[in-house]
């Protein structure tokens, strides 16, 4: 037997059940030829098989069922009367279909047997012509007696409740197994150790099996959407094409049901708010027919579902205005929000950006409900939008909620479980080397991991379970976590173990604490809290606006949106003005003693890692801006006399930019909102509500090229 597609297997199961019923119904019909209902039922059964095999490209089977369907249609419409000859013809068709199903199961194709004579016979019956010197019908269809064993039904229907009960029991078994494994570590009896190992293995396999049983292709939900999209689009007078991808992506049955509503909401939103009317689209130079993409895929133990449209996108300014007008946000706060944070306002309850309330959406309930539903599934949702080009909403949910692989860590004398789904990597403390990597970014610790600067938070500090302690006093293990596509480091006292945990809900008394998603029982019988990474991040306000670069895989509009965005270092200059520096070019952040600066050229230089590092005081280098008042520059930190220096590197040139302090790392599209007003800047962007200049690094490097200084190099 060959490997068959899930969808083909489903088709076979259903078709076989249908055929058995068809057999019985046809015979019953012969006895009660006037039974319209029965006839309608037979018609539907054949029609369903025809429809599916057309879709699955089983042409021969489709031709045969098509002929049978025609015949049944005539019978149903009363244009033909059922004769014994007709019944035989139809039964012969059922046998032939069955033979083809067997062939499909064995070979994946609808077989070599040529049913042309049968099709011709059905056509003849349709026209009511008398039979020519016809070959016997039976000769074309294999005798039913020859039906191989494979034709027997190989799947059974099991109630979901039973599977759920099994799942719970397996959950308990996993816990018991974990406890035994814990005891077995100190066990010296080799026979018992072997039995424990076997128990371990069997439990794992059993668990996997039960989980498998609950897995279903997401198509169970997606298959309903083409119709929905068509109807909604028609209602709104829009033209929309739905493109679906990854319909076979499997996930837990409970999750399949739970994502139906959020996805429906997102699709309605995309059609109503996203896709413009045909006339508007053509005026904007887009095809009249809008595209909505619905894509599902597995990625590192999670399911990612994206709903993207190529519509008008979300007007950030409009959201801001709405949020202020509706009193959801004080005007002063709104000014400080980044574009990304503004986009996230669509998840606020009550906010709607639709100009008018339509039948479909715009009543101000929607995205907040979607977010709540997704979060209930331990999922995350994010939104990206580009005005005029479209919006993408990305949902990440776990494959299953019941048992998850997790990392157990210790902090502040307690143990916590972190779901692997949020885990990027573990960075073990390796003596002093890990300290070196922890740097100070405007008062907030960050650490550098393969060139990427990540914010660092101490778990024990976030949870206030330990008094304030200097993070650099002792080595610590670090766990790199990701949520919403952003990464941050979590400092813990120790990384203990990774294990499968059974997720138990927290009591109502603790549901409101965002930092936990549940609790579990560890191998020693003790309870441990499961950390909710997005909630934790929120708690810690650890997330700066940075994201990993080069996230592959996502589809059209989203990718375009992403490509344009770039992480930028936002710094305050000694004269108090702000400046953006592309983060890719930043090699290091240093604090240098002012006394180490040797006077070379305009701004001096320092010896840095065995090389001469020219220093640049940007304020002195850039031509003065007329309009802005300047404070006298005080470069060095008044407390320790150190200079904050951002070491930038490009084309092999390295300079140190003397700055006041680092404020933030932001991610911005480099579409400049204001043209450059002077040399040395590439233009201006609006960051956190303030006009901020983007440094032209190439120009700065060119300006600061230091002529060789033999005296200093020696």
């Amino acid at each position: 037997m060959i490997e068959l597609d899930e969808i083909v297997r489903d088709f076979l199961t259903e078709a076989k059940e249908g055929l058995d019923q068809l057999d019985r119904d046809l015979v019953a019909l012969e006895a009660r030829p006037a039974d319209r209902e029965l006839l309608a039922q037979i018609f539907r059964a054949v029609h369903t098989i025809k429809g599916t095999c057309g879709f699955l490209d089983f042409r021969k089977l489709e031709r045969l069922t098509h002929a049978g369907e025609n015949l049944l249609a005539r019978l149903r419409d009363g244009e033909l009367a059922l004769t014994a000859e007709l019944t035989s013809g139809l039964l012969a068709m059922v046998d032939a279909i069955r033979a083809m199903l067997v062939a499909i199961e064995a070979t994946g194709s609808d077989g070599d047997a040529d049913f042309a004579p049968l099709v011709a016979e059905l056509a003849r019956l349709l026209e009511g012509r008398p039979r020519a010197a016809a070959p016997a019908l039976a000769s074309s269809a294999p005798a039913p007696a020859a039906e191989p064993a494979a034709a027997r039904n190989e799947s059974i229907r099991v109630s979901v409740a039973l599977i759920d009960r099994l799942m719970n029991q397996v959950g308990e078994l996993v816990l018991a197994r974990n406890e035994i494994l814990q005891c077995a570590r100190s066990d010296t009896d080799p026979a018992r150790a072997a039995t424990t190992q076997r128990l371990n293995l069997i439990t794992s396999e059993l668990q996997e099996g039960v989980m498998q049983m609950r897995m279903q292709p997401i198509d169970a939900v997606l298959s309903k959407f083409p119709r929905l999209v068509r109807d909604v689009a028609k209602d709104l007078g829009k033209r929309v094409r739905l493109e679906m991808d990854g319909r076979h992506t499997e996930l837990d049955k409970t999750l399949i049901e739970a994502i139906r509503d959020p996805l429906t909401h997102l699709l309605r939103n995309a059609i109503d708010h996203g896709i413009e009317r045909p006339a508007e689209r053509s005026a904007r130079g887009k095809p009249e027919e809008g595209r909505i993409g619905l894509r599902a895929r597995h990625e590192s133990g999670r399911v990612i579902i994206e709903v993207s449209d190529d519509g008008g996108g979300i007007q950030v300014a409009q959201i801001r205005a709405r949020a202020i007008a509706q009193g959801l946000l004080p005007a002063a706060d709104a000014e400080l929000l980044s574009e990304r944070q503004l986009l996230e306002l669509v998840f606020l309850p009550g906010l709607s950006t639709a100009e008018t309330v339509t039948k479909v959406s715009g009543r101000g309930v929607g995205m907040d409900v979607v977010k709540t539903n997704v979060e209930k599934l331990c999922g995350e949702i994010e939104i990206q939008s580009q005005p005029g080009r479209g919006t993408t909403v990305r949902i990440r949910i776990p494959l299953t909620l019941a048992i998850v692989p997790a990392l157990v860590v210790a902090a502040g004398g307690l143990r916590f479980a972190i779901p692997q789904a949020n885990l990027v990597e573990v960075v073990r403390a390796a003596g002093d080397r890990s300290h070196a990597r922890v740097e100070d970014l405007g008062g907030a610790p960050v650490f550098r991991l393969r060139g990427q600067l990540l914010p660092l938070v101490q778990l024990s500090r976030v949870l206030e379970s330990e008094p304030e302690r200097e993070p650099r006093e002792r080595p610590l293990d670090m766990v790199v976590l990701e949520c919403d596509g952003r990464r941050f480091g979590l400092g813990v006292d120790a990384v203990i173990d990774s294990q499968e945990i059974v997720v138990k809900p927290l009591g109502a008394q603790l549901k409101g604490i965002a930092a936990y998603s549940g609790a579990t029982i560890l191998g020693d019988g003790q309870v441990a809290l499961i950390l909710d990474v997005p909630g934790l991040a929120q708690q810690a306000r650890a997330l700066s606006e940075q994201r990993p670069r080069g996230d592959a895989g996502s589809a059209a509009p989203a990718q375009e949106v992403r490509r344009d965005r770039q992480p930028l270092l936002l710094v305050r200059q000694p004269d108090d003005s702000r400046l953006l520096i592309p983060l890719d070019s930043v090699a290091r952040l240093e604090r240098l003693r002012e006394s180490a600066v040797e006077q070379v050229g305009a701004s001096g230089a320092v010896q840095h890692r065995g090389r001469i590092l020219p220093l640049v005081r940007i304020g002195e280098l850039l031509p003065e801006r007329r309009a802005l008042p300047r404070r006298p520059a005080a470069d060095a930190d008044p407390q320790d006399g150190a200079l904050s220096v951002v070491v930038v590197e490009s084309d092999g040139l390295r300079v140190g930019l003397v700055i006041g302090e680092i404020l933030d790392v932001v991610e911005q599209s480099l579409e400049l909102e204001l043209a450059p007003t002077r040399a040395g800047v590439r233009g201006s962007l609006i960051v956190a509500g303030r006009i901020t200049e983007l440094l032209d690094l190439a120009w700065v490097l060119e300006q600061s090229r230091v002529p060789p200084q033999p005296g200093l190099a020696a």
């Binding site: 816990l175 502040g412 307690l414 008394q509 603790l510 930092a515 609790a519």
Partner: protein, 147 residues
């Protein structure tokens, strides 16, 4: 009060007060159990405990009623209640007898009780040996962590 004329109360003491809960609501009584502390939780949450594979939230009734703290090494008992939101255990000082009380002896909470304690009581049953305060279990376990 809709309780039948005769009601069985499971009694226990908390900071010198006698309290009672309808026997039907009590799932079991346990001695001190290992607890897992929950950072960020409301003060009255002592922690979580493993109750044969189920996870129970443990509330300290002294803190819940805003009564003085008990000594660190004082003995405790768990009065375990099954509730809709999961299993909840109330931490008490000592467990007494199951007593039968009648509605006739029921009266509103004594005037001398104020604040949190008063809000969490349904009233009191007057007995020969003193008052047994009837705990409103719904309110007593109705702790909410700030979202």
């Amino acid at each position: 009060m809709s309780e039948a004329a005769a009601l069985q109360l499971c009694t226990f003491s908390v900071a010198g007060h006698q309290l009672g809960i309808a026997v039907a609501k009590v799932q079991e009584i346990l001695r001190a159990q290992p607890l897992t502390r929950v950072p960020l939780a409301p003060r009255s949450v002592s922690g979580l405990m493993n109750l044969r594979g189920q996870i129970a939230v443990v509330l300290d009734l002294r803190r819940r009623l805003e009564l003085p703290e008990r000594d660190a090494d004082a003995p405790v008992f768990h009065v375990v209640l099954g509730s809709e939101g999961g299993v909840v255990s109330l931490l008490v000082d000592a467990v007494g007898d199951v007593i039968e009380v009648s509605e006739q002896s029921f009266e509103p909470p004594p005037e001398t009780l104020r604040g949190a304690a008063r809000a969490l009581l349904r009233g009191a049953y007057k007995l020969e040996r003193g008052l047994v305060l009837a705990l409103d279990t719904q309110k007593a376990i109705g702790v909410r962590a700030g979202a």
